[in-house]
Amino acid sequence: MTDITTLSLAEIAAAIRTRKVSSVEVTRALLARIATWQPTLNCFVRLEAEAALAQAAAADAALARGDAAGALHGVPLAHKDMYYVAGLLAECGSKIRKGFVASATSTALVRLAAAGTLRLGALHMAEFAYGPTGHNAHLGPAHNAWDPTRITGGSSSGSGTAVAARLTYAALGSDTGGSIRLPAHFCGVTGLKPTYGRVSRANAMPLSFSLDTVGPLARSAEDCSLILAEIAGADPDDPTTAGAPNWDVRKTRRSASDLTVGIPSAFYTEGLDADVARAFDDTVATLRRFGVRTVPVELPDQAAVSAAARVVLAAEATSLHAPWMRTRPDDYGPQVRARLENGLAFTAVEYLEALRWRGPALAEHLAAIGDVDVVITPASTSAAPTIAETDVGAGPDAEATIVAITNFMRPVNYLGLPSLVVPAGWSDGGMPIGMQLIGRPFGDETLIALGAAFQAATDHHRKAPPDR
């Protein structure tokens, strides 16, 4: 019999719904797998086994009565430890929020619960989601399931490696400067950073209110679509979602041969390791084979866009954390404290200039890509480096290390664009390599269409790390 932990979210939801397997059986199988992997990966910060089994038993009983809650009835999931649930801890990877009990539940989790999902526990994350590697001064690093000496990427570190190790079928992450896409790339899973304003951030921990987005890491583009189908759309508790369309699954079935993909001529082509460059070329060749039209695109100065993103992120994060920076500065890890202090570099005028430029910058981007549906880039210049070589703390190499890892991420956040990272190849050392598909505003479904077509033609996303 197939190991049920290896099934996709779509497959396990169907198996539970048709009562081929019970929610309790699925939950027990995942808990057993978590027990095996957790000592190696350090990916769960809290496991809620008893509660999960009780929820699973209730889900099975409801199904027996003919009362399925929704499309994901009885499916156990785990999420980054920054999504609040009323009455439960949400410690945000920090010492400062140790023991913090939320008073309200995040809209994303309310919607996933309404779809029938259960909660396995909370996942490791960078302190306050402010770190791209998976290091955490308080929790220790999360470890990559493909090679535990290597980073997971961050800040959704636990989400990336737990999905890769088949400990959860999907997990919510958040993305302010690459925090969904980097773990997807380094851990070999699929991650969707939605259009800014497409998914409510209400009652999720903020880092930068102009850049924060909520989205899934999962085993395929189709699985990401299943999550977005539940969480996308307007929410009165998050005004940035006003007028946001609900998920349109028909658009995810658009033929890839109708799509035009832009290939940047600069910036995203620079400094690539040879194996990343090879994976990029192979991906483009695969897209062309199934009829995608590819065209070169000359994007506006991406380094400038990235710099503007850094000003906005630094100023907003520092503003949010200023009360604790005044009263509890020593309770931050050294790197996070140093990064928060970076926000002191900018005046209100400079911050607002960077924020006001966002509209003109997006207009320039859209003019540059013309009728291009998707721009494709590597997710990073290299596959996962080691934990040791990126353990730079607040030292003199810290900023350069962070910039090198996040360089291809930030323009997407500043421009508010949707972006899907899909596994697309392997490094010479056997680590996953992801490619980034960048869409037009609210073109999230088009990314799923292209990602699903690519995954129908390749098997990178089906590979799982060897059991340990």
């Binding site: 259009t195 800014y196 304003g197 102009s210 007028g243 369309p245 100065d301 380094a303 400038a304 866009v305 990235s306 710099a307 503007a308 850094r310 000003v311 630094a314 520092t318 200023a322 920076m325 005044r326 500065p329 140093a338 202090e341 970076n342 002191l344 570099a345 900018f346 005046t347 400079e350 607002l352 200039e353 960077a354 924020l355 006001r356 430029w357 966002r358 509209g359 003109p360 910058a361 997006l362 207009a363 859209l366 607040a394 003199p396 810290a398 900023e399 910039v403 508010g416 037009r440 505003p441 609210f442 073109g443």
Partner: protein, 66 residues
Amino acid sequence: MSDEVTPDRIAAMAAAARVPITPEACAGVARAMTPTVARLPPGTTTLALETEPSSFTVVQRRELAP
């Protein structure tokens, strides 16, 4: 914006924000942020009077027009 972020500037900004910071940290921020400031687009300082942060939303939502 000037192309160089100095430790003195950071110390003054921190004092204004009432955030404690060491001289070493001021130097670290200056070192870390100077490359960012140097790469900022000239367009940020020549924006039209009418451009506000929500102009971004206007451009973004044009994609939703039928």
